[in-house]
């Protein structure tokens, strides 16, 4: 135990462990950039059809099924599956299998929660908006989207935390990031690496959650309410 603590101290006192080419700072940066990129792409793909279906109030059955299946799918399995697929397509190990898995896993919660947020806009409000002469497009942009924004934002937050978590597992398919410490640590029986990896990933996940909570006040339209994460229709732990 005291061995572990002194080794941990030695690691933390080594400037190379922080600033080196494969140090904590570089790995944190990679981890954050890949997660942001994956969330961005997932949102670009998932948001438009979700808003459109919610606006037309169609596809409830599909969304319901997605919620259940989404929760049951193990992210580790999806990530692992991407490796042979990526190799077969000649995309190699590392970035591509990790990136594609992250996007695939982030899409269902963004899609289902956005859909729910739009569908749950009070019909009396949309009636009134139509009565005022809004066209379908105006209705979406000026009424339904702003009112659904709190749910959409929470969906992005939950997906972002999930992506940061799953990106850790990217180390098993050859990607870098903070997961390297954990996976290499397991492989080498190096408890210090494992511990450093665990703590840094945990802190990054909590920081992501806090960043989205903080961003809320800038993103949410005035008068809409923040929704607690417990009210989300779908989210999966990783």
């Amino acid at each position: 135990m005291s061995d572990f603590l002194s080794e941990l101290g030695a690691f933390l006192a080594d400037p190379d462990a922080w600033l080196g080419g494969a140090g904590l700072l570089v790995r944190t940066r990679d981890h954050v950039l890949l997660s942001l990129f994956a969330i961005g792409v997932a949102a670009l793909i998932a948001l438009p059809p979700a808003v459109w279906l919610g606006h037309r109030r169609r596809g409830g059955v599909v969304v319901g099924a997605l919620v259940n299946v989404g929760r049951a799918i193990p992210s580790f399995g999806i990530l692992a599956l991407m490796l042979p697929i990526s190799l077969a397509l000649g995309l190699g190990i590392g970035f591509w299998p990790t990136f594609v898995a992250l996007v695939a896993l982030a899409m269902p919660p963004i899609f289902t929660n956005t859909y729910t947020g739009v569908v749950e806009v009070d019909p009396a409000v949309t009636e009134a908006a139509r009565g005022m002469g809004m066209t379908g497009r105006q209705l979406v942009r000026r009424t339904e989207l702003p009112l659904a924004m709190p749910v959409i934002w929470t969906a992005l937050r939950v997906s972002a935390v999930q992506v940061v978590a799953t990106a850790t597992l990217g180390a098993v398919v050859g990607w870098g990031g903070l997961g390297r410490y954990v996976i290499d640590g397991f492989a080498q029986g190096n408890d210090v690496y494992v511990f450093i990896g665990g703590v840094s990933v945990a802190l990054l996940a909590i920081a992501t959650d806090l960043a989205f909570s903080f961003g809320e006040r800038f993103v949410l339209p005035k008068g809409t309410h923040h929704r607690d994460r417990g009210e989300l229709t779908s989210s999966a732990a990783v």
Partner: protein, 223 residues
Amino acid sequence: MIFAQTQPFIRWDWIVDHLDEIWERTVEHSVLTGFAVVIGLVVSTALSMIALRFRRTYGPITWTAGILYTIPSIALFAFLVPFTGLSLLTAEIGLVSYTLLILIRNIVAGIDGVPAAVIESARGMGYTDRRLFWRVQVPLALPVIVAGVRIAAVTVVGLVTVTSLIGQGGYGAFILRGLRRTFATEILVGTVMSVVFAVLIDLVLLWLQRRLAPWQRRQARAS
């Protein structure tokens, strides 16, 4: 290498050859999941009773459970390993900590959802606090609580696969081994079996949830 490329994506013969191991892993997966959900339920019930009795503790309790829920499972396993090793205990601590937020929320919401009139009449009939809790509030809250157990169980089934990285794993063992050998069939078996298992557990609990609230069905039929 040339032969590897002509190999089909799914090798059914491998699956047929490994039915025994699939069964063993199913048992392992059930045990890991079962322990986590049952222990999670016991801990959550205790914490919920504290939160219900002393309302001011509800915030801090769910806040702490929320932090545990936010920490990625692999990270939680990672910083437990120096203390508890690559063991079943490490896996279960991680898995249980994931169930807490979901279960506590549903237990408290379920108990809070019991109509005040029902509690009034039970009190009028002379129920003590303890009897009121176990005989009236808990039975009436059971459908909501079981709904929470469903979410927790399905979540845990997926997370169990990650415990293969700390030497446990159930179906996750197939995923990890398939990954090391880049053998798609084995990864697929692990992933698909985990999904099937989660769906089955969800269906069983859904059936239980319906049985525990026969009055909801009766109401539905009457209306």
